[in-house]
C-alpha cells in the first residue's frame, strides 16, 4: 500500500467511526463504566457464581435445593409476595385520586409535595422505629381507637406482617404519588377539554381519556414500588416477626450471613430474589406494552 492509500484508509476508518458517534469523547464515560463494572457487574456475576458453590460442597444446585427443600425457607417467598403485592397495588391506586385532584391547583400543591417527601427521606428505619411505639398496644393509635370506642381490644399490629405493611405504605405512598403526579401532568389537558365539548361528564373524561393514558405510567410506578417493597428489610426485623410471617427473602439472606457466615447461600437467596423481582416487572411491562404507550400530547403541536 502506498502512503496515500494508507492515509486514505485511515481517513475512511475515522469517518466511519465518526458516523457512528465513536470518537475520543467516549473516553469520558470510561471512569463511570469501570466503576459499574468493578463494583456492580462483577460482584453480581461473582455472587451468582458463588451461589452455585455451596459451602457444604453439595454440588452446583446445592444451595437452591436446600432452599426450596426447607419449608421455612420456601415460605419466605410467599411471605415476601404477601407483603409486597398488596402494598404496591394500594400505593398505586391510592395515588391516582390525589394526583388527579392536585393536578391543577397551585396553592396547596407545593406544601403537600414537600410534606410528602418527608417520610421518604426519613427512611424505613426511622419510620419503623416510630411505628414500633405508635402501633404498640398502649401506643397512641390504639389509645385513640379505644378511647373513641371504635374498637374494644387493642389492635395487634406489631410483630406480624401488618406493621411491616403499614411502614411500607407510609414510605412508599409519597413516592408513588409524586411519580403519578408527574405522569398525569404530562397529559395534555386540551384533550379532556375536547372530550367535554363532545359531551363527556367529568367521570367519563377520566374513564375514557385520562385513565387509559395514565396506565403506562401506572405500570412503571407499580414496578418501582414493588421492587422496593419486595426487598423490605429493616422494617421486617423491627416491626414484624422475622422468625415467622415476616421472614421475608431479604431477612433470610441477611440471616444466612449473620448467623452462618454462609455467603454462598446468601448469594443464592439474592439470586432468587432478583429473578422473582425481574419476573414480576417483566410481566407488568409486557402487559403495559400491549396497551397504548405513545405520546400523551394529543397531536401535532
Amino acid at each position: 500500500m502506498s502512503a496515500i492509500d494508507a492515509s486514505k484508509s485511515s481517513l475512511n476508518l475515522k469517518s466511519w467511526l465518526a458516523e457512528h458517534g465513536i470518537d475520543r469523547l467516549l473516553f469520558l464515560v470510561i471512569p463511570a463504566f469501570l466503576a459499574m463494572l468493578t463494583f456492580f457487574i462483577y460482584p453480581t456475576i461473582y455472587g451468582t457464581y458463588l451461589s452455585f458453590h455451596p459451602m457444604d460442597k453439595s454440588g452446583a444446585l446445592g444451595n437452591y435445593r436446600s432452599f426450596f427443600g426447607d419449608p421455612y425457607m420456601r415460605d419466605s417467598i410467599w411471605n415476601t409476595f404477601r407483603i409486597a403485592l398488596p402494598v404496591s397495588v394500594i400505593n398505586v391506586f391510592a395515588a391516582i385520586p390525589l394526583a388527579v385532584r392536585l393536578r391543577h391547583r397551585v396553592r396547596g400543591k407545593r406544601t403537600i409535595n414537600t410534606l410528602l417527601v418527608i417520610p421518604m427521606s426519613l427512611g424505613t428505619v426511622l419510620i419503623a422505629e416510630g411505628l414500633s411505639a405508635y402501633l404498640a398496644p398502649n401506643g397512641w393509635l390504639n389509645r385513640t381507637l379505644l378511647a373513641t370506642g371504635i374498637i374494644s381490644q387493642p389492635l395487634q399490629l406489631l410483630h406480624n406482617f401488618w406493621g411491616v405493611m403499614i411502614s411500607l405504605l407510609i414510605t412508599g405512598f409519597p413516592f408513588a404519588f409524586l411519580l403519578t403526579l408527574s405522569y398525569i401532568s404530562g397529559i395534555n389537558p386540551k384533550m379532556e377539554e375536547a372530550a367535554s365539548t363532545l359531551g363527556a361528564t367529568p367521570w367519563q373524561r377520566f374513564r375514557y381519556i385520562t385513565f387509559p393514558l395514565l396506565t403506562p405510567g401506572l405500570a412503571i410506578t407499580f414496578c418501582l414500588n414493588f421492587v422496593l417493597a419486595f426487598s423490605v428489610f429493616p422494617s421486617a426485623n423491627l416491626l414484624g416477626n422475622p422468625a415467622g410471617d415476616s421472614h421475608v427473602l431479604a431477612v433470610a439472606a441477611a440471616q444466612a450471613i449473620s448467623s452462618k457466615y454462609d455467603y454462598s447461600m446468601a448469594s443464592a437467596i439474592s439470586v432468587i430474589t432478583g429473578v422473582l423481582e425481574l419476573a414480576v416487572v417483566a410481566i407488568v411491562l409486557i402487559m403495559r406494552s400491549r396497551l397504548y404507550s405513545g405520546s400523551t400530547s394529543g397531536g401535532k403541536g
Binding site: 458517534g21 467516549l26 469520558l28 464515560v29 471512569p31 463511570a32 463504566f33 466503576a35 459499574m36 463494583f39 456492580f40 460482584p43 461473582y46 455472587g47 451468582t48 391510592a94 385520586p97 390525589l98 385532584r101 414537600t114 410534606l115 410528602l116 417527601v117 418527608i118 421518604m120 427521606s121 426519613l122 427512611g123 424505613t124 428505619v125 426511622l126 422505629e129 416510630g130 405508635y134 401506643g139 397512641w140 393509635l141 407510609i170 409524586l178 411519580l179 403526579l181 408527574s182 389537558p189 386540551k190 377539554e193 367529568p202 405510567g217 412503571i220 418501582l224 421492587v227 422496593l228 428489610f233 429493616p234 439472606a253 450471613i257 455467603y263 448469594s267 439474592s270 432478583g274 423481582e277
Partner: protein, 291 residues
Amino acid sequence: MTIQDTTEVSNSVSRKIFVKSPFGWVIWASVAFFFINLLGVIGTVVVSSFGTEWFDGWLPSGWTMKFYTTAWHDYQVPNLLRVTLQVALAVVLISILVGTPAAYVLARRDFPGKKLLMLSFLLPIMLPPITYGIPLATFIYRLNLGGTLTGVIVANTVPAIPFVILVLSPFIEQIDPKIEAAARMCGATTRQIFIKILTPLIIPGLLAAALLVLVQTVALFELTYLVSGPGSNTLVVALYYAVFASGIRPYQAISAMAVFYMLTTLFILIVALRYVNPTQMVSQARSVDTK
C-alpha cells in the same frame, strides 16, 4: 393574554370537577388521615425521648433531657455524625466527578452499544440495594475493605453514580448543542467549552444531583449495614443496631438517638428543598421510563 387563557381554562374546567363533589372531601380527609398518623409516628419518638418514664398513659410521667446526653455519649453521636458526613460528602464528590462526563457523553452521542451501557447504569437503580448488596458486600470483604470507611464509601457510590447520570442527562440534553457549535466557531477548545460554557449552564443540575445523592446516602440503610464495621457506621445503621440491642440501653436513649438522626435528615432535606423541586426527587424514575 393567550397564555393566561389556557391555564385559566384548564383550571376552570377542573375546578368544576372537584370543588362541588364529595369526592374532593374524601380525598382531603384521607390526606389528613395520612398526615395525622405520620405526625403521630414521629411524635411518639420525639415525646418518648424527653420522658422520664412512660409505661401507661398518653404521655410520659415526667420530662427530662438527660437521655440526650446519655445517647450522645453512649452511641458516640459526634463520631457518627463525622462518619456520616465524611461518607456522604465523599460519595457526592466521587459520583459527580465520575458521573458528569458520563452523563455528557450519553446525552450527546449515539454509538453502538449505547443501550447496553445505559442498562449497566440503570440496573443499580432498578434493583433494590439488598439484591446486589450481598454480592457487593462479599466482594468488598474479599478486598479486605470490609468494615472500613473506604468500603462504605465504595458501596454507596454504586447507586450514586447512576443517579447522577440519570439526573444530569436531561439537563445536558436541554442545552442546545448549537451553543457548543457556536463556541467552537468562535475558536474555543473542548476544554474551554467544558469549563466556560457547559459547567455554568448545568450548575442547577449539579446542585440537584449532589443534594439528592446526599439525601440518599444519609438515609440508605441496606448497603452500609452490609459492609460497615464498628468505626464506620452511619447514623442510620447505628440507629438500627440501637433498636435491636434495646435490652441493654433505656428506650428513651434510643428515641433520643432517633431524634438525632431525624434532625440530621430534616436539616439536609430543608437545605435540599431550597434548591430542588420535590418532584425532581422522583423524576429519576420518570426518566427511566422515557428511556
